[in-house]
Every structure is written in C-alpha cells, then in structure tokens.
Amino acid sequence: MKKILSLVLCIVLSLAAVTLYGCKKKPNEYTKDGRMILKIRNLYFNEWTGGDAYTSYIEDKFGVAIEPSSYSWADWDNQVYGPANSNNLSDVFHFSLDSYNFANSYEFWARGGSTKALPDDLSAWPHIADMLGKVSNLNELKINGKLYCIPLIKNIKDADDDYSPFTYVYRRDWAKELGVYQEDDVYTWNQFQNLLSAFYRAKSEGGSVAALADVEWGFPSIINFYKTAPHCFAMEGGSAVCNFVTPQFKQGLELAKNWASGGTNIYGFDQYAANDGDVAKQFYAGRVGVFYENLSLANYTTLRKKVGERKEIDTKEKLDDATAIMKVSGPDGKYALEGGENWFSATFFSADISDEKLNKILDIIDWLLGEEGTMMAAYGIKDYDYTVSNGGEVTLLEAGWERDINGKYIEKLNGAKYLRYMATLGYDMNDYDPLVDKEALSILTEWKEFINRENAQGNLRILTEDPSVKWLSTTNKSQYAGGLLENGNASVQKYVYGKITLGEYENSFTTQRWGQILGEINSAIGK
C-alpha cells in the first residue's frame, strides 16, 4: 500500500490506511536478553556508529538495543525516498523536510499511512511537549490535528531565532592592508563596493583571486539586498507574485550580472560551473576576499580551522583578521538576512512500529532533552567525565576529558549527543560544550548581538515567506513548487552569466505552471 504513485490516490486511500493501521504494525523485535531493538537512522549519525559506553548507559536505562545508521549529505533525499517507497523504513528516520517537499514527503507519507503520528497527549513527555511548543509554524505541520514528525529545533533555549546566519566572512587583513577597513567590520553599501573594488584591483590580477564569491547554493548573494522574499513567492498588495521578476529582484539581478560577467569581475570565479564545496576551498586557500556562506557554528569553526592551517596564519590575531565577519548594509541602509524556521529537518516514525515502541523512543528523547540527558550529551557520565559542585559548577575530570597534543579536548564517541539529534540540533549546548570552539562562538555571538541591536532599531530586513503561502498545499504547488525553485535559480544563474537574454529569463517565469500555482495560492488566500 505504500507504493502509491499519485498523491490523489494517496489521499483517497488515506481513510482506508487509517482503518488498516492496526494490521500493519510489525511485532517488536527483542535481543536475547530482552531488550527492545530500535532501528534509528539519522543524517548526523554519519559521525557515530554506536557501541559506546554512553549508548550502553541509555540502552540499560531504557531496556533497548539501538541500531543506528546514517545517510550521506549528498544523497539524503533519495536514501529516504528509497526505503519509503519500498516499505523498508527504519523505526525512526530523518528527512530534510522543508516547504518545497512538504506535500510529496510529509503529507504523502502521513496520508498514505507510512508514518506514525505523535500521541495527542504528550503529558508523559514534558520536555518534548515544551520543545514542540516553541517550534515555529508547528500548526502548519498538523494534518487533521495530528503531528507526524518531530522538527529538529535549532536551539531549545533560544527558540526566537528568526533569521539565518547566511552572511559574509572576509579578509580583514587585506582590507587593512589596502586602507579600506571600516571599524568593527561595519560597512555601508558604498564602503562595501569600495572594498570589493580595492580587493579586485589589488588581488585579482591574473584571475586567481576573487574579490567576492558565494557558496554555491547562495549565488548571487547580493540580490538579497534588493529582493523582498527569499524564494519563489513574494507578496505585492496582498497577492502572491513571482519573486524572480519583481522590480526589486531584477535590480539585484542586473547588479549580479554586472559583477559576474559584465566586465567588473567582482565575482572572480565562474560560479556557474562551480561544484559544491569549491568556493569554500578557494577561501581556505586564500583566493577569496569576501565569502558568502552559511556561518553556522559548525561551518564557521571548520572555516577557521581550515584557514588556520595556512602557514602564514600563525597567530590568533592573524586568524581573526583572515576570517572576520562583515556587517554590510544594503542600498536602503538596512541589513538583509534570510528568515526561516527555528528548526531544520525532522524525525519521523515508521507507521509499522507499535505504540509501545513509539512510547519507548519518546521516553528516550524526552530524557535526552531533560537535564540528565543534556548533561550526558554535553559532558558524559557523571563522576567519571565530570562532577557538579553543590553550587552547580561543572568540573571536567581528567579521565573523561583528555587533551590532545595541541591542548584541545579529545572528542569521545558519545551516543547521547548523537541520539539527541532526533529532536534538536543542540545549539543550546554551545555555550558549555567543551568541544565547541569558543573563539568561533564568541565571534558569532558578537555578530548576532550586533544584528539583534540593528533589528531592534528597525535596520534589519528579514526575508521571509508568509507561512500561509509557504506551507500551503494545493494541487500544482504541492507537486511542482520544488521544481519551480530549482528552475528559477537556474534561470538566475544563466542570465547572470549571459547564457540567456532578459526576455528569455522573464519568459521562464510566465509559464502556464507559474500561472496555475500563483492562481491556486491567491485563490487560497482570498485574492
């Protein structure tokens, strides 16, 4: 029944699926010593294989045997769709849920009876209930009042995060050297352009250095300073319109074209041909002046580590200067950042698992979100890895936390940390996790505090989609919105690199499909 090929059929059959639900469950499997076997698959388990003492602690505590497996970043979607289509899902699985695949994954699975809903009453799992209460746009994920996943909240303690850290890191040392540095890395639009010109003149001769380069999925980033919505759909006068052809978007588009192929060569690399990861490598190698990237703590830590491996970057001051975060306001004097949900991806439960197994998994997740589980995920086992004073002060113990020859704590394979990824990305632990690069965290925190101040003063534009449009499911939008975004971004790149004319660019957004989808959206929102 899971090989349903059309969403329509799926919806028609959904009632039957619910009726048959009780018949589909697979019996629980147990080890010889009576532990319930849990098969859990998660992208972040690519760094963990189980079998460690911390996992054993959890297995003993909950009477389970955990069989973890992972996905690869490059093929994540297919590695979920494959088992879903062949009725071979793990008990727990992890999918890159977003508004563009919502209908053909979340809704499709839920209505088709492939995934199991969370219980209506979550009072037995207070930490999960509390966390779900903080998840942005949670109601949009409910089908007939039921929730079929646990979104992985980024920061369980600071859930009001409403913008993403997609921004510019730059060579402050070059800016200082060329006399274009601005105090505290704060640049107006003109100062930003002056800096890029200076970088281009001084560094880009021969084409080996780019004044500006964007992470592949973010190109061309400078349109962010002009456009009014992040992806396909912008709102004008209360109606949904195609974002790619708004006057604001096209203004940014022309600038991008000028910088990429219009003779200025600010974008010094051929981003049209770049593969994932290419631009980051160029920055690490000292061949990019300003780099647009998702400056998550993990990415920024990696970036600093890689740049720090260069021979000439031999002091902390040099590293800070080579990896500084820029604060650039656009032509309107405002900072512009992409908005988003306060969660990324989601954990799902196979419909085949029993209520008993689901409850057991929820027990584990709830414990991991509570104090004891969080302490284990961050530090390990009490009185072996750490102690806590009467005043609550944590002291790491030598047996559990050794340092390497560079003086950094050595990471242990700690299953609690990885199992916690079933519910959260764990940003709440950044402040005290001994493995976090505190210098990178401090720089990011300083940047965030600056942005928050500017936001409070009305100087930040957060590019968001109206949730009622973003999560709306209509016949054509559900089926084709993902393709629209992909094709739209491709048209942008083609135009920027002169592969198509402006007319051809505009025509690619006036197709019947665009008309149908915009019509559906506007009809749904009463326009």
């Binding site: 690869s72 072996y384 242990k412």
Partner: protein, 499 residues
C-alpha cells in the same frame, strides 16, 4: 635510578622473598588459576598498503625494524578482490557459475602483500589473511559484478577465495597463512548504496563460509582454517558467534571479533566483564573455544577519540592510549581470550576515500607516510607499551589470573610452555601509587634476574636505538616474589628475560 618511581629495595626484596615462600602476601598467581593454557599471543593488523607511492623514503626498513621489535606472533593482513580481479565476463547470462575473470597478481597490491607475507614467513608469524569485502561497487548503477546483494554467499566469492589462496599458499608457498578471513565485520551492514555489506545477513555469511570451506577442501587446502566471525562489537558478536558455534563449528577453527571499547568501560573494568560473558556464551555451545579453537580479537582498539568520518583516532598520540590498551589486553586475557591483534601498525596502510579525496587512517603505532610530520613519524607511546606486552606474553604460554582482585590494579602472569620464561603485567589505573608483592607459583627456570619495565609518560625508558629498554634489572626470581611500587597511571612489566 633517575626519577625513581619503582622502589625496589634489595634488602626488602630478599626479606620478602624469604618470607613469602610458604606464606605469600600480596598477589599470588597459583597454577590452579590458569585461564588460558594455549595462549595464541599478541599481534597487529598489518594490512596491504593501499598507496605505496605515498610512503616516505626508507619506509620499509622502518616498518620492518618496528615489526622486529614488536615481534608479533599474529598478523591480520587483508586485501581486496577489487584490486586483483579484471576482465570480468558474465557471458551475458544470469548463471553465475559460467562467469569468468582474470587476476593481476603482479600489481602493487599483491607485491606489497607478498612483502608482508615474506616477512611473516621468515619470522614464523601466524597470519590471518582475508579479503575486506565482496567485489563490486556499492552503487548498483556502477556495479558490474552484482555480488553485493548475496554478499559472501555468492558462489564466485568462494571461487575467488580458492584461487587467491591457491596462489599464495601453493604458488608462493606461504605456510604462515593459517586462516582465511571471510570478509571484514560482516555484521556491520552500513547504508544501502554506500556499504558493500548492506545486504549481508548471518545466513549469507554462513553460506559463504560453507562455500569457502568446500572450495578450499576441493583443492586440498584443508590446512587453511577460517576465522569464525570477524564481527565487530558485543551486540553483533553475540548474534553471530553463538550461531557459528551451533551451526558450523566444524567449518571454523577460530572465533574472531573486533572490539573498539569506550575508555569508560576499560577504566571501570566493564569491558572484561562483557568479554567474559561473550566468551562464556560461546564456550557453552562449543567447549573447544579457548583451547583447540582460539578466541581472538582480530581488531583491538579504543573507541573514544575516533573520528568516524576519517577513521582516525585522536588519542593515539597520548600515553593514556598505551595504558588503556595494556589494561584492555589484561582484561581480555583474563576473560579467556586467546589472542589480541592491535589495530594497527602504520598510519600509511589504510585510507578513507571521500568527497574531499583520500585521507590516511591515522590509527597506527607510527606513520611512514611521506606527508606525515616528523612528530607523526615517531613511534607513538602505545607502540612501546605494545612492544613490552607482545614480547612478554609469549605464544603457547599459560596465563594466570591473580588470587585476589585489588581495586584499580589489573594484573596477570604468564609462564612459557617450557617453563623457562615468565612474567607479570600490572596496570595501576588508580590515582595513587600501589606497592604490591607478586609471586608466581609455577616454577620458572630463569637466570635469577628480573627485568622491570615501567610505562608512563615520565618513566618510559628508551635505549639509543629508540626502543624500549628495562628501567631496572634486579636479582631475583618471580617464584620467590617481588615487591615493587607501581606509580599511579602506569603499567609495570616484570620479566625473567629481557624483552
């Protein structure tokens, strides 16, 4: 006597020896506490070098010098059919029995394998030779062999194995090869599309063993045994090994596991308890285990510090890795294990192949990679602790457990089969120094000297050749007893002969 942390006072020693003869104090290793009567010895994984072009100048000399000093009695050496097979032809039929292929036994992989086997042959080392995985590409669209779905139960696996072993044993004459490893860690399935084990099951693996046994017997290689299991972790091993013992005890001669253990479990001696439970579980089904059929940990290492993506371990440069591996060894042997093979010899042997190219698996006792820094090329602390253990715990020895257990002190004694050599390993895992007297009941025909080695960051003593040398040599006999102070966080080894 610089940094005197072992306090062996001669007068006290003489007094203790006299006083202990009939009324032993401290720790006594009685003959009745013989936990292993046919110890297989310690060894190391010495796999085929995947990229010999990346080795530094003089690498082979360094490798063999290290191997000479390590003196392993067991070596696990693995290769890949992907490196050796070419011109595959399935004849356009679904019938696997008519498939044909050729072997390149002259390429760099086999040349290197033979270099390692030449060394082992010359030194009388027992080798478990195996093949990592079935041939083919995990990506079904790129896989021409289609062996992955059936794993080692595919009839071509047994054919390739027989051809390979015939070449090595018959053509090349390697008598050092004692066992065949029927694929690496068969219980670790991994992800479909990424792992060659993705579709494996115990039933397929068992069928593979049956096929290989039959194929080897058919060409008269009855003397090549098969490793039973080679599974990883307690859960997978507890699944496979009892089935092997129950279903095919006549097809395997050796129960083999891989154990990567958290520091917590080593430090708290939980590992030894778990290993004893596993060992006893298998022995209940096949009483020959631990005697006629050795139980060997073919890959032994510590889990903490492991980077799963690069398969490197950040702990290996620390002394604590050596101390914990010594503790690991003692706990293993006291639980009945017949042999331990450390993972691994040299960083330069194995690589991870990812989206960002290939990276060396840094988990060795040293590195001979040309790209490695001088620090990385040095013998790591755990090489030296391993040298002490591999040279002390001899093949065929009896292993004795202590008469009593003391908190944070893990000890065992060994006496060679002929009674001419003996020794004690004592690992102090506590935060305080421990003073203890050790005595071995079984007679040792020694020359009246006891060689004392201490492993910790302050006291490890290396000779001018860069290899470990005794901290102290005292007159005495382990049958009479020896009193010594073991510093906190140290391994002490007492031997009736220089190691």
């Amino acid at each position: 006597m610089k940094r005197v942390l072992i306090l062996i006072i001669m007068a006290t020693l003489a007094f203790s020896a006299a006083a202990c003869k009939n009324n032993a104090k401290g720790t006594v290793f009685y003959e009745k506490n013989d936990v292993c009567r046919d110890f297989n010895e310690l060894g190391v994984e010495w796999g085929v070098y995947e990229e010999t072009g990346k080795l530094s100048a003089g690498a082979w000399e360094r490798i063999t010098a290290a191997a000479d000093r390590l003196n392993p009695r067991l070596v696990r050496c693995m290769t890949n059919f992907d490196w050796l097979v070419y011109d595959f032809d399935d004849k356009g039929t679904a019938d696997l029995s008519d498939d044909e292929w050729k072997y390149d036994f002259d390429n760099k992989y086999m040349v290197n394998a033979c270099e390692i086997l030449d060394y082992c042959e010359k030194k009388g080392i027992s080798v478990a030779f195996g093949v990592w995985n079935v041939i083919g590409n995990p990506d079904p669209e790129k896989d021409v062999f289609k062996m992955i779905p059936n794993a080692t139960s595919d009839i071509r696996w047994a054919k390739m194995t027989a051809d390979l072993m015939e070449y090595l044993v018959r053509t090349k004459g390697y008598t050092c090869i004692k066992w065949f490893v029927n694929s690496n860690e068969p219980n670790y399935s991994g992800a479909v599309g990424a792992s060659k084990n993705a579709y494996n099951t115990y039933a397929k693996w068992e069928q593979g063993v049956r096929n290989v046994r039959a194929a080897l017997d058919a060409i008269g290689l009855n003397n090549i045994d098969i490793v039973g299991g080679d599974t990883t972790g307690f859960i997978g091993s507890a699944d496979y090994l009892p089935k092997i013992a129950g279903n095919i005890p006549d097809k395997v001669n050796n129960y083999g596991v891989h154990m990567y253990i958290s520091n917590y479990d080593i430090d708290n001696a939980l590992y030894g308890q778990n290993m004893k439970k596993l060992f006893d579980g298998v022995k209940n089904i096949d009483p020959a285990v631990g005697g006629e059929k050795p139980f060997i940990i073919w890959e032994a290492g510590l889990l903490d510090g492991k980077n799963v993506i690069t398969d490197c371990n950040a702990y290996i440069a620390n002394y604590s890795y050596g101390l914990r591996m010594a503790d690991y060894t003692v706990q293993s042997l006291l639980s009945g294990v017949s042999g331990v093979c450390y993972w691994d010899l040299d960083d330069a042997m194995h690589f991870m192949y990812g989206e960002n190219g290939m990276t060396a698996k840094e988990w060795g006792m040293f590195s001979t990679l040309a790209s490695a820094s001088p620090l990385m090329q040095e013998y790591r602390p755990w090489f030296h602790s391993s040298v002490i253990l591999t040279n002390l715990l001899q093949q065929g020895s009896h292993i004795y457990s202590p008469d009593s257990e003391k908190k944070d002190l893990r000890v065992l004694a060994s006496v060679s089969k002929d009674g001419k050599n003996g020794g004690v390993v004592a690992v102090n895992r506590g935060r305080e120094a421990v003073t203890e007297t050790f005595r071995i009941e079984r007679g040792i025909e020694s020359e009246g000297k006891i060689y004392v080695y201490v492993f910790n960051e302050r006291d490890l003593k290396l000779g001018p050749d860069g290899f470990v040398t005794p901290n102290l040599v005292v007159e005495g006999n382990l049958n009479d007893g020896l009193k010594l102070e073991i510093p906190a966080g140290s391994m002490a080894a007492l031997s009736s002969r220089p190691l």
